[in-house]
Amino acid sequence: MESQRTVLVVDDSKLARIMLQKAISHYNSNWKVTVANNGEDGLTVFEENNPDIVIVDYHMPGITGLELAGKLRQQNRSIPIALCTANIQEAIKKQAALLDVSFVAKPVSETNVGHFLEKSEIAINGTEPHE
């Protein structure tokens, strides 16, 4: 049986959330998606729901996606996190690398989201015994 995973999506844009949801469903229709529309709420939802994978938008009101990723990292060292943004600049890349955070470029597509999710699964499964 396929494992059901939960993906947390944090983005202040409804459109972005919808697009990501669609892409995630396309990758695996069984997976659940929880959402938050800013960094603070994202933290709360994360603690409540314990997702397996996290995708955060960079540019949000309040704390940025990177800051949020930093806090999440403090709580969970190995969970796959991706920064979802069109604005992938060198400085941000470096900071993300330090936090072991990947990128999903905007505009999102089923391809690039799928790519990240696949990578994430491999990373997660790698810590579980083979079936």
Partner: protein, 210 residues
């Protein structure tokens, strides 16, 4: 938001437009940061419906000493003008950052026109392309025009005679760098008929994905 609801825009549509502009300008910022080898900081896009005279006032108050701008007009599914604006004293900083101190200072003033035209071209194309691609709009975009120290009228006029009561869709994003002192903004202007067409396109797009 109220102004938009007057034109029967839904919350989703406004959100969608904001996100699309965000993406477009994000790509533009990425391109710019590569060109100047520095991080470019963006503000959150401000999308409003305002009259031309209001835009005029705001631009003048933000650029009291005058501004330089590069604009690209587009037409097709929607008609409008995109522009890259700098306070006139800051335009030099961008040129300098672009040329990475390879060129002598006095040569730089000559190159200002070409440098800003090209940068403007890259940035504005990124924005417009994202909009066009996402919403499947058919447009043709003209080559950039550079005006140094131009009057606000020139920026806002477009092909039409300046009508101060006319309302426009006005989208502005500020971008700046810390080290090289670049500070400018991207501006999009759409006339009301095109605003309507844009809404329709957004609706079609949302229908598709929902």
């Amino acid at each position: 938001m109220n102004e938009f609801s007057r034109l029967s825009w839904s919350g989703d549509q406004v959100d969608a437009l904001t996100e699309i502009m965000n993406i477009g300008i994000g790509v533009a910022a990425k391109n710019l940061s590569e060109m100047v080898a520095e991080e470019v900081f963006l503000s959150i896009p401000e999308i409003r419906l305002v009259s031309r005279s209001n835009i005029s006032e705001e631009l003048l108050s933000q650029n009291p000493e005058g501004m330089s701008f590069v604009f690209q007009d587009f037409c097709g599914s929607i008609n409008g003008r995109s522009a890259l604006i700098f306070p006139i004293k800051k335009s030099f900083n961008l040129v300098k950052a672009l040329l990475n101190n390879v060129v002598a200072d006095d040569e730089m003033t000559e190159m200002e026109q070409e440098a800003l035209s090209e940068v403007g071209n890259v940035i504005l194309n990124a924005c417009i392309a994202t909009l066009a691609d996402t919403l499947d709009l058919h447009m043709e975009v003209e080559i950039p025009q550079y005006v140094r120290g131009g009057a606000v009228n020139v920026l806002l006029a477009g092909d039409d005679v300046l009508d101060h009561s006319r309302t426009n869709l006005f989208c502005a994003v500020n971008f700046k760098t810390h080290q090289s002192g670049i500070d400018g903004y991207v501006l999009f202007l759409l006339e009301l008929p095109s605003v309507k067409k844009l809404r329709i396109s957004l609706e079609q797009f949302l229908q598709k994905i929902m």
